[in-house]
Every structure is written in C-alpha cells, then in structure tokens.
Symmetry: D2
Subunit: 471 residues, 4 copies
Amino acid sequence: MPPVDRLRRYVGAGAEVNRAYPVRDPAGIDGYYAAMSQDLSIGSLGHCRFESPLVQRLGSVPESPGFVEPDAAVLLDDRISSLGALERIDEAPRLEVAGPRREIYFEPAATGIGIVTCGGLCPGLNNVIRGITMEAWHGYGVRRIYGIRYGLEGFIESAGHQVLELTPDIVSDIHEHGGSLLGSSRGPQDPKAIVDRLDKLGVQVLFVVGGDGSMRAALSIATEARARDRKLAVVGIPKTIDNDMRYLDKTFGFDTAVGEAVKVIRCAHAEARGAFNGIGLVKLMGRHSGFLACAATLATSHVNFCLIPEMLDNDTLGPAFLDRLKARLEDRRHAVVVIAEGTGQERLADPDVRDASGNVKLVDVGAILAERIKAYFAGKPMEVTLKYIDPSYTVRSVAACPSDSVYCWQLAADAVHAAMSGRTEMIVGRWHGRMVHVPIERAISERNRVDLESPLWLSVLETTGQPTTLR
Amino acid sequence: MPPVDRLRRYVGAGAEVNRAYPVRDPAGIDGYYAAMSQDLSIGSLGHCRFESPLVQRLGSVPESPGFVEPDAAVLLDDRISSLGALERIDEAPRLEVAGPRREIYFEPAATGIGIVTCGGLCPGLNNVIRGITMEAWHGYGVRRIYGIRYGLEGFIESAGHQVLELTPDIVSDIHEHGGSLLGSSRGPQDPKAIVDRLDKLGVQVLFVVGGDGSMRAALSIATEARARDRKLAVVGIPKTIDNDMRYLDKTFGFDTAVGEAVKVIRCAHAEARGAFNGIGLVKLMGRHSGFLACAATLATSHVNFCLIPEMLDNDTLGPAFLDRLKARLEDRRHAVVVIAEGTGQERLADPDVRDASGNVKLVDVGAILAERIKAYFAGKPMEVTLKYIDPSYTVRSVAACPSDSVYCWQLAADAVHAAMSGRTEMIVGRWHGRMVHVPIERAISERNRVDLESPLWLSVLETTGQPTTLR
Amino acid sequence: MPPVDRLRRYVGAGAEVNRAYPVRDPAGIDGYYAAMSQDLSIGSLGHCRFESPLVQRLGSVPESPGFVEPDAAVLLDDRISSLGALERIDEAPRLEVAGPRREIYFEPAATGIGIVTCGGLCPGLNNVIRGITMEAWHGYGVRRIYGIRYGLEGFIESAGHQVLELTPDIVSDIHEHGGSLLGSSRGPQDPKAIVDRLDKLGVQVLFVVGGDGSMRAALSIATEARARDRKLAVVGIPKTIDNDMRYLDKTFGFDTAVGEAVKVIRCAHAEARGAFNGIGLVKLMGRHSGFLACAATLATSHVNFCLIPEMLDNDTLGPAFLDRLKARLEDRRHAVVVIAEGTGQERLADPDVRDASGNVKLVDVGAILAERIKAYFAGKPMEVTLKYIDPSYTVRSVAACPSDSVYCWQLAADAVHAAMSGRTEMIVGRWHGRMVHVPIERAISERNRVDLESPLWLSVLETTGQPTTLR
Amino acid sequence: MPPVDRLRRYVGAGAEVNRAYPVRDPAGIDGYYAAMSQDLSIGSLGHCRFESPLVQRLGSVPESPGFVEPDAAVLLDDRISSLGALERIDEAPRLEVAGPRREIYFEPAATGIGIVTCGGLCPGLNNVIRGITMEAWHGYGVRRIYGIRYGLEGFIESAGHQVLELTPDIVSDIHEHGGSLLGSSRGPQDPKAIVDRLDKLGVQVLFVVGGDGSMRAALSIATEARARDRKLAVVGIPKTIDNDMRYLDKTFGFDTAVGEAVKVIRCAHAEARGAFNGIGLVKLMGRHSGFLACAATLATSHVNFCLIPEMLDNDTLGPAFLDRLKARLEDRRHAVVVIAEGTGQERLADPDVRDASGNVKLVDVGAILAERIKAYFAGKPMEVTLKYIDPSYTVRSVAACPSDSVYCWQLAADAVHAAMSGRTEMIVGRWHGRMVHVPIERAISERNRVDLESPLWLSVLETTGQPTTLR
C-alpha cells in the first residue's frame, strides 16, 4: 500500500494528507478554510415555547441582560484576504454565537437531563459535570439531573450500572480533583438501547462529553430519537487532550496538559544536563497532531527536537534525525527530544489493529526511538546517556488548571443554554475567542493538524533550532 | 464635584463612563466597537531594504515558509451584525497581522537593539526579555542587544545605571524565575535625554515593555526621534496584570495572576468554612477593571460576592452589600468575598493624590470593607469571623505559567519581526486568537472594562449567585 | 515596668527569659534539658481489659506484630554529656513510646469517640480528623465517632451547632483540602457543660486538636470527668504553626507552612531585585518563636535579614537594623527582610490587651517596620522601593504537604492507640524521630524558642550574612 | 541456588535476609541495633592547628557561640530497654555530633576544595553544591573550590572534562533547579589517578556526593592518599533516593521524591476511579527497600496494595496478590497498586547481570505485574481497565522541596565544618534529629530496610487495608 493510502486509512477518511490541500493550524493565515460554503447552521427541535427563568432573575438589569440575539453569529473566517473574494458578505460562512436565550424550548420543571463522559480521562471533566449541573439547577430550575456511570456502557441495563442523581451538593467540590465523578469507558453502544434507557429515565436533554467516537455516538442517538419523533436535545462537549478539533480555538484540558508536560520536560532537561552527552527523551500525547508537543516546547524553551505526526515527509525516527542529534550533542553535550505519540505511525503502525474505541493501535514510538538512539550510538565512539520519560496518564488525570476551569464553566453553561433552547446535534466551543455552536457533523468531519507553514510551527523551529525538515 | 466627573478624573480622560456608550468586555456580542472607522494602520520607517535572514534559513520549505503577506489583515469586528451595516467590506476596520516579513528594514549586522521594562512587575517579563534576545540573535543575527536597567531611569546617565549586554547565554534560563532581569522603575523621563542615550548606544530598535504610561513614553520617544529624522523603530509590548488593554484578547501574565489568585481564594474559602459565620475576604489587583477578580471567581467557584470597579451604580461597600452578605451567612454560615482594588474608588479616592506613575493613589478598599463588615455585624446579634487576605505582590512576582510563557514567546518574536521590518509606534498582541499589530495611540486611547451585560459578567453572576445589582 | 517583667507578662509565666536558663531549640547540644527529673509518666484510666481487635487482624505475623511493649520508652536526652552526669540510667527522664497495645481499655463496640478542632486553622487538620476516624473505625471497630463543630463552642447546646457523625465515606477525601471539616473557634468553654454534653453523646474518648489554650481546656475537661469518676480518655494532638512545642521535634503543618512561606519569599526576592535599592519585606507567623522564619530563610537562601522574637536584646526594628539594611543596599542594591510577627513585641505590644483566646494582642510589626524603613530613607539621599508582603492566612489554610500528611496519619493513629488503651491527659508527638506520649501538663509548661546559640540560628546567620547581634 | 542465597547475592553481602536477625526501620522499637559495640569514631588527620575564622565572626556572642564541644556525642540507641542491658553508660555506642569547631586543621587561605556528584540524579544535589561552596567561601574564606564535572570520570584527564571553578555568584541560584550543576556519571575510576589529579589541583578537602558505590570510591581515595602520606580529608554526603542508609534518619531528596510520587498516585487514583473495575498501577523507585513506596502510600491514603522488596515470603506478583486484587475490585470497583521497583527481584532478576555502577540489573516489575494482571483477568468473566504509570526520572529530577532544602544546607555546612576540622573517611547525616558524623565504612556496611514488624509497615497495612501477608 502506498504511504499516503496507508496514512489515509490510519488517520481516517476525513483527514487530508496531500500537500495540495495542506492541513493547517488555527493561527495560520492563508488558505485555511478551504471549503467555506458548508452549512454551519445548528439543529433545532422547533420554536421556543417558554420564557427562560433567567429572564426573571436577570430582569432587573435594564436593556439587554446578557441574552443573545436570535441571529447572533460571527464569521468563520475573519481574514480580509478571504472576505475580499466574496461578492456579498451574506455568503461568508458563520458560526452561531452561544449563550442564554430569552425563550427556551423545554419547561425546566418537566425536564430530565442526562450527562455522560466517554473515552479517556481529560482535565476538566469534573468541571464540566459540575458546571452543567449548577447551570441547569440554579439557572433554569431543572431538578432531575442524571449522571450516567462509566460512559455509554452506563446506558445499557445489562451492564448493571446505577445512574447517579446529581445535585449541587454532590458536585460542589468535584472540580478540585482530576478524573471523572461518573467514570468512563470506551467504545460504542446500541443507540436503540440508549434511547430506550433515556425514555425510562425521562430524559429530554442529553450532554455527551467525549471525543470523535462519542460525538458520532451522540449523532446516532439523536438520529434514533428523531426516527421515533422523540424530542431529544443532544449537545456535545468535545474532549480531546490532543487539541485537534477543527472549528475550536482549543479543547478543554489542553492548557492543563501543557502544564504537566512542561514539568516533565524540565525533568528531562535536568537529566540531559546531568550527564556528558546526556539525552532526555519525552513522549507526549498526540495521536494525529503535535499541538501538545509544540505548546510544551514553546513553554519550556528547553527542547532541541520536537517531533510530531505532521512531519510526514521527515525522517523523524531515522538517520536524518539521529545525525542531527549527534551534531547537537557534539556542540552542547546534552539534548532534549520531545516526540508526540503519533509521530511516524504511518510507517510503523498496522492500520488493521484497532483498540476498543476503534482507533488504530499505536506502536510505542518513544520506546522505538529510544532503542534506535541507543543502537545508533552503540556503533559510534561516543558514549551517550539516554533517559526516556513517558509521563503517560499523568498529563491527563490531574485537576484542571485555572484557565481550563474557566473554559469548562463556559462550555458547560453554554451547553445548557443551547440544549434548553431546543438546539441539538451540535457542540459548544470557543472560536476566535467567542463561545459558539458548531454542528456535530461538521465538527468531526476532519481533524485539525499543525500546519508546517504556520506561525506556530515556525515558533517551534525558532525555539528548538531544529531544521525546517529532517531529511 | 458630581460623581461622574470625579470618576472621569479618576480613570482618565479616555475612559467612557456613561451608560449611553457602555464599556464592554472582549467576549461581548453587541454594540462593542463603537467607533470602528478609526485608522488602525501601523507606523512605518519606510520601504523594506533587506532580505530577512529567516528567508535563508526557512528557504528549504517549498511555497510559503511562514512569512506573512504584506497586506495580511483581519477584521477588528467579526460579528455578522456589524458587518451587515457596512456597504463595502473595505470599510471594515482591520488589524495588520503580525509575523515575519520576507523583507526587512534594518540590516541586522548594523543594528543595535534596546529593551526596557517599566512599571510594576508582571509574570512573563523575563520571558519577553529572553524571547526578544533569542529571536533577534538567532533569527536575525543581531549581536548588539542592550538591556536598559531599572526602567526609563536607566536611560538617564546621571542615574548611573550600567546597560546590560544581553546574549543567549545570559537570558537562557531567566524565564524560570519571576521578576525582571533588568529591573524596573516608575514614572516618565525626558524623551530628549532618552534619544540622546540611544544615539550613544547606537540603538535603532527599541522595545518598551510596560503599561499605559510607558506606552505614552514610547510614543514620545518615537516622536522625538522623528523630529530629529532619526530612524528609530519603537515597538511596545503592553503589560498590565489587570488585562484591560483594549484591542487585545488578553495581556501577558494574566493567566499566571489568575492562577495565583485562585490559590488565595481557596485559602479564603477554607478560612470561611473554618468558622461559624466565617467570612473570607480577598483583595485582588484591578485598578479600573475586574477581569482578574472575575476570572479567579469563575476558576474557583468558591466566591459568593465578586465586587469590581465597573459596578459603578452599585453599593459595593455599603449597606446593600452588607445586608446581602448577612443573608448569605444566615443561609450557609460562611461566605467568600472578592473585591478588586479599584472598586468604589470613584467615591473613596482623592483624584488629586497621585503616585510616581501619575496614577490616582487608591485607598485600600479591602481594609475599608473589612472594617465596614466588622462595624456592621458589631451592631447585630450575630458574631462573625472575618479573615482578610491581601495577596498583594505575590500574584505578580511569580514565574509565568505555561500558557503565558507561550504567549510571551509569541509577543517577543512578533515584536522583533515588526521592528526589524521597519514598523514603529505600534504594539503587538493577540486579537481573536491571532497575533496582530495595533498603533500605540489607539491601544492606549481607552481601557477595556468588564461589561456588566456581557457573558463574562453573566457567568460571574451565575457562579456566585450574587444579584445583578447591589442596590 | 522593666523590660523583662513586661516580657514575662507577654509570653506567659512558663517561659524563661533570662540568659541564666536559656531557652533552646531541639537541635541545641548543651544545657538543654534543665530540669530533667520531672515526671513524664502518662495518665491512665486503669488496667487494660480487652484484647485489641488489631491482635486478631495482625495475628498472622509470627512473633511481635508491631505491638509496643508495655514499658517501652526512650530517653528524653540522649547526649552523652547529660548521661555522664547520671549515677544510674534509671534516673534519666524518659518518654513513653506510642503505638498499638495488645490490650486495650475500652470495648470498641461500646465506645463513643469525640473529635474537636480548636483555634486557628493549620495544614493537616483534615488529615488528623480523617486519620482518627479511619483508625478508630477500621483498626478498632468503633462505630460512633462524633465530630464536634466549631471548636469547644460545639459542645455548648445553646450555641445550636449539630454534631457531625463521622464515617470513612465522609472523611475519605477531606485531607486533599485545607481547613477543617469540623470548623473551629477560639476561647474556652465551661468544662462542666462540656462533660454534660459528652455524657449525652455517650462519649468515652475525646480527641482535642488545638494549641496551648485548647490543651489547657482538655486538661480541665479531664479533671472535671475525674471529679465525677467518669472514665473519659482525653488525648491531645497539639497544633501550632509556630512549631514551638517543647518535647516535640515538630508540630504538624509546619513543613507545609514553610513551603508556603518559601513561595512568598521568592516573590519578595523578585520584587527586591526588580527595583534599584529594592527591599522585599515579608511578615511571617511566629508569636513567640522564629522557627518558621528561620526554616523559610534556610530553604530559600534569599533572605538577608531574618528578625525573630528571640532576638530580645537586639534592635530589630530600630536604627541598628536600619543602618545594616542601608549598608546591604549600598553593597548589592536589593535586600530581602523576613520578620516574625512576634518580633519586638515586648517593647511594642500592650500586655493587657488580649484576643478571644486570651493571647496578648500583637501589634503589626510588619507594617511598623515598613513605616520605619520609609521614614529612615526619606531623610537620606537614597531612594528605595519597599514592597511589603503579609501572606497572612495563606500559609495556614492550604492542604498538608506530603511529609505533614504522613506525620498527621501517625499522630492520629497513635492518638487512637493511646486513648483506646486507657491513656489520658496526654498528647502524642514525635521526639527524636519516634512517636511518643507526653503528659499534657508538661507539654504546655513552657514554649520552645530558637536558641541564639544553636546550630539552627548559626545556620541562619551564615545563610543571611547578618551579624550575630543587631546593636 | 536457594532463594536466600540468590537474594544475598542480589542485595549484597552486608544485607541481612533471615528472620532470626531481622532488618528494621528507624522507627522500629525493639531489637534494632544488633551489634552496638562497633567502633563509630571518626577518622582524623591529626590535631587541630588553626583557629576557625568563624570564631572571629561569631565572637561577639558571649559564652558559647554555637561551637560544638570536642567530645560532643549522642547515643546510637536511646531506648531504655537497650540501655538497661548495659553495665556502664560508657559502653553505649555513640555518634559524634556535627557542627563547627573552634579549632580547624586546614588553613583556609591555603586550602583547595573539590566537589564531585556521582550516580543518578537526586533532588537537592544543587543545594549541596551550593551549600558547600557558600560555607567554605563565606564561613571559612576558602577561595579555591573546584567542581569536578560528570562524576568520578571528571578526575580522569583522558576524559577531557574541564574542572569548574565555583564561586558564590556561580552557585547563587542553582538550588532553584533540579539536576546537578556539575553533572554526574556512574561507575568507579582508578583511585591513583584521582589522587594524582587532586595533587595537580592542589586539593586538600574532597566532598563526594553519591551512593554506596561512591562512598566506597571515597574510601579508596582516602586510602590511597593515606598510603602516600598525603593529608586529604574525604567527607561523603550520602545520596540515595531510596532512603535506605543505615545510621541516617533520612537521606536528602527523599521528601521531594515522596511529594512527586504523591502526585503520580493521585493520577493513578483518578484513573482507577475513572473506569469500572479500574486499576491504577504505579511503579516507584526502591531497589532494596520500600521506604518511598510506604511514605507515598501514607501521604495519599489512596493506595490499596503497597508491594515492597522486603516482602520476601510474600507472593507479591503472583496468584495470592491477584486474588486479593480481584476481591478488592469486586468490593469497590477500583484499586490502586504501588510497587517498588525492587519487589520480587530475588526471584526475577539475574544476579549476574549488572549495570555500570555494578548493581544487579533489575527487571521491570511494573511491566511484569501489568502483564500478569491482564493475563489473570483475561481468563475471568470480569473486564478490568488497567493504567500503568512509571514516573521514572520525574521523581528525582525536580528541584528540592523546602524541607529537603533545609536538610541539604545542614549537610553541606556540616560537611565543610567536619572536613576543615581535619575529619576524614566519614559522612554527615541526621540521626534522631541531630546532625552527626558516621564513619564511611559503617555507613555502607549494610542497608536499611522496612521492618515488616515496625510501626511504619503497620501504618501502611492500616492505611491500605492489605493483609499482613500475601500468601
């Protein structure tokens, strides 16, 4: 199988791999939004029927008490160069602005809410659970809020998990801890069985916190409910510590993960300097994208080589890299290398071996690189001391840092606002600094990846001093 | 003097205080940019004359290796509602995109660079000093980089401060520590004397890191240089821990300050819960704006009252607040109150008493509120235990957190890119997620303040449960 | 009133202030234990009556499964020079070793336990509450464990506080947070009313966590119970963030407090270096002793002057110090000063003004020193920038650090072991690295203070470079 | 080979493995010091010849300005039960007290000092380097202080490493970072070549910071110098993150390592609770002893199984453990397991395979246990989710925590005091809370190990709820 085809199978059909249509990062400036004419309007259960309880509460403020106008939207692409090409401003793709609406679709007193967290842990999960509960309870007066235990599996009666009734008292302090109060699991479940369970629970509003697969599951649940003509609002809060969600500035938990990665890189730096020809090698998360590796590299300024999955044509684990590493050691006698877990997988991983979530099972590139470095120098008159650190789960199991905590609160509150207003099959997120709505289908259509021609990557090159290509 | 006039004198001429032209926060959605037709184009020393050394270095990448197109710009306002009002897209105010240019104005080998840090400490100062030095040295090959000691005072020969020559070795690890390698001072100095000193040093590029006053000083230095027909690029990196710079998503150091404030609020929470009718009172920075207080409130979710300078018509330190506080205690037996230092100053501070930087000298509203709380409950059959915490400098003297470290690197690199390309009288900053250029004059024309009708404030109200107004 | 008499009134009758009988720190080497013949045997309710449930559980280990022999004891003073003076080793004062006994006095199933936390917060309070609950529940099978709310006030029915029933589930995670789950209050309550309440609750074992005053209260409760011939075991866990408990290596929470103080001193250092002639002034806790100030000084190595209450004959806030400070500034252009809150109080505080706990009300020496520094330099041709930081409650409201967490567990477990074995009127603590029992009466007889001739103070002098005396 | 013989080869000749003479931890209470009559007196280069510069400096204090009396010593064993067996107190083994002496052996102005750090990194190395430099420079006036680069290898001229001259300015801030300013390496070097180099450098005082092997090297250097009749003081600062140095309360860096391990265990706890039948498995350092695993277990209270090398007769990686793990999961649906790296090695490691330092090469018991857990449950109708975390170097590469910083200062200062007074072939350390001298030969004669009948292990059993034996 030719490399590009292998890669396409590896990263999924939606991803773009050829250079003619380069994948890019959010800070990129040109050619970013290739197909801007897609429909970005949000699913709706119908017209609004009730006045929001918030109107009462916030009513004392004159004029506009923070409510969002019905048609509030922002441009998807705010670059002059893109806009100049438009005939009419109406053509420009736009994203609906998130926030509370004056009128809502569900009567709070009669509404049941479900929350489920899926996939791997991520800093901020407890903040999101807490925020949804608090906003629904205090902001809208909803009194039936069900926490589904252990991911989608929690919907399946035969699995035997009890639903956890959530109240402000129960969730009050959970955001001070990592993990998920509800627990999680991987993999899909039958949408029919899920909607059956939602029926039994009397749930009209479902919040799904999870990654790509979970967003697909959310969509299938919504589809099943629509098929039954059941009014169910399904709103996703996308979760990926890799921060590779297109249409989002960043995903929650990312800042926290960077903070943890920074600590590990500092250790690798100390280890590298602690030996003559010392090498500190750190593996970080990042299945398809190197955002975490790049941000941690920029934040520490200790990294000499930052290897990421996007370096497709690069010899990231081979002689070109190893020669460079040797040159660095000869120059400074220590080196720090950061590698994202997905780097080089298009050559190394077997695209037919998959994990419980259906993702291609990655090979351990950190361990492989460590072996290759050792083998390389074993044949040379140059003794090196290699310290390999794989922080693994420690970057994702910690409690959210302050900036993530604030973001999680906004995500949770806006998810509740959106769902109570009858919106569905959408996610909430931040775009160009504002909270917006994105259709689930668009959000998961393809991943964001580090653009090798973007300011972000340029900054990495400048900080590390590594060459533009390793060939 | 009527209150509004007092306030106007207090916050400065540029600030808007009446409700007809409400001040708003960056997340606000309507009516934000009142006067959008201002000229936002950047000062320039002339046409570019040299090819950037980066071209050589990044040249191996095909196509566009991260360079910014000459006319790259983004919209100042990306809301559809604003754009709809425009006849032509050309009318829309725009900000120039930051980043490296293919052609530069100064020949690196012949260029001298000056860096000065002014005003109070802020997390990230060392990152900025380091970033400018690294980018100028490694990216452009500049070899004369002078650190001016102790703020603008460092330019004045009679003060006797030595200039510090900066090299990669000297700045290598400084970002791991708080403070400023160069030191700082407050207050203006004679622009003539400054330009004289720059002449002696052979400096063509000056970076000024500081607040409002320092940006005004930067402008006066540039003006003086222009008057002498001396080619001097003056680029500002705006610094305010209050995060109230208009035209910027956030200022550097803010995330770090929020993180420190969060720790303090957690202590106040523990103290409040540690006593029957326990009150934890925390004073945070924020002369004119409550962004720090709001963000820390959202990040902890422990705060019951968040009092900020923007609550002009509120009885923030008076009976309306005190009655609310009493009600909260009767309900839950503990309360956490956060007050930004500028709150209520329009009634309390004497606008004629000023500090070295020329700012109105604030009264200590934390201590005043503590006294008022004690006096209020002294007259009631209700014993309270008040713990007042003023973290003061500890929120600003720490090293930058990872997200601020990344931001500081970008600010530093883009400041160098801008100055080397001959741009001047401008600042760099992030706007809607992108690094941009803003004319100094516009940047300091007025402060950003928390819009009491914005999603940010709404979130604060929802998190704290405090009423929309304290009257 | 002559100074020494004033001081005696100020620090209390038990404290020794003249140099003939110098107060010393635990690390001191000569003349330490002046009156070693005091009786250090522990109060007992009678002979043991039951076999410990632990015997069953640990029975599978052969030989001695961790139980302490009945007469296990260690020397109070292990210096050869002290022992040489003894005729027989039997004369040497000794401390009973803590730990589980094979036989216990109380039948767990019939035992009720009370826990009360008194006085100011201290890191580790929740660890102690948790540890007592866990050890009593899991180790002994006690099922009635009552948390008394808000200190001794919680015993008084008219105050209206509910008792909190403690179980492993309730206390499971509380040690991850600062503060006290039970809350606290200051000041004594009527022992008769307290024993009445214990009768109603059916409590036979009472744990009092608190400072000097609370230990006196514990003693009066035990005395009242004895007068009624009621079998009540009262065991204290001494709490003082000042670490000035004689007969203890250290008090819990001290390591944590040092850790917080270190962060603040780092900030003061950054502020001091951030200005020409910059002074960072930090006030730390320490009413009568400077252990916290000394430890934080040693841990940072940034402090140039460490001023503590024990420097009685020193001019700590006067011209002798100020001249030294000026000399330091002239030499290095920045200085960090740490002052313990009790420093110089013998000259400044009014011994007749007392707080709720009956302690002399301290004047704010930090603020006074700040004013004196400003006044001193105002009259000199030398401009200084002074930053005064009072971290106040933030050093005591945080969660316990790991070493304190381990210590708190040991204190809690050994307190339960001691009480269940019928011991009473005693405290638990660590002495020369081992957990021991000390009679309450002895423990509070006098305070430990920094010996100005000890290795500890010598280290401080060497680290700071300050002179042996400021006169 | 029978297991005990295998073990003896594995842990070394000095270690005791049979139960008749149990190895015990410092907190143990009976039978601890088996052979107390060994000579613990310290090597000396001769009578003191100079008055210490400290006498001058501290002379203003009347009476005894912190100097240690010539014969100051403390008991090795302070338990009454041990002392009762003695006929005369003179028989009791004792340790010399550390600290400054009035008279010293070396004239500071003529003295050269060498510092070398060997073996793996450990938190506090930079504090020790800094402390020795500061004390020698400021306390004694020594002006030639040489940092040997990269361990003992730095002495060997053919290796080509430059010696680093140390001054207060160079070491001023290094304690704020992890690692070692000097770098390190493993393995021995020829003592003759080392003494030759010391001759060339003009070094009379050598400080060796390292583990068992380095202490042996220190001894051989001293022996070589003695053979040449060269007056060389060799003082060791023992370094082992495993904290298994007999005759020491603890080794430096241990508190810091516990703090880092605690963070990792918290992550494992979050991961375990994040899944149905979730298992968090953490591997910690500890080649021969479980002190780190035990302390981290006690500090978090999240651990359900703590497996350490001392559990010789236990089935730590086999069915007995696995059955217990299954039972725990069935009861609570999550479990946290901590395993010290040396656990079970007597059955798993090949005693003939050794690393550069000559230690038996350990197998990765964490990975092995992870595989065994997976295999065990694969055959059962019970799905588990296992998360294995190996924090590896991150627990040792960080900067020292405050309590370690204080300890390192004391170690460094007392090492300088000892060496300058002509003492040699000794180490400094804390014993029962006091700084003392121990002959190197005794210090490395055998390792300390967790006594399975000690209060420490009892606490671990109580905290985890694990059975006394896994059989």
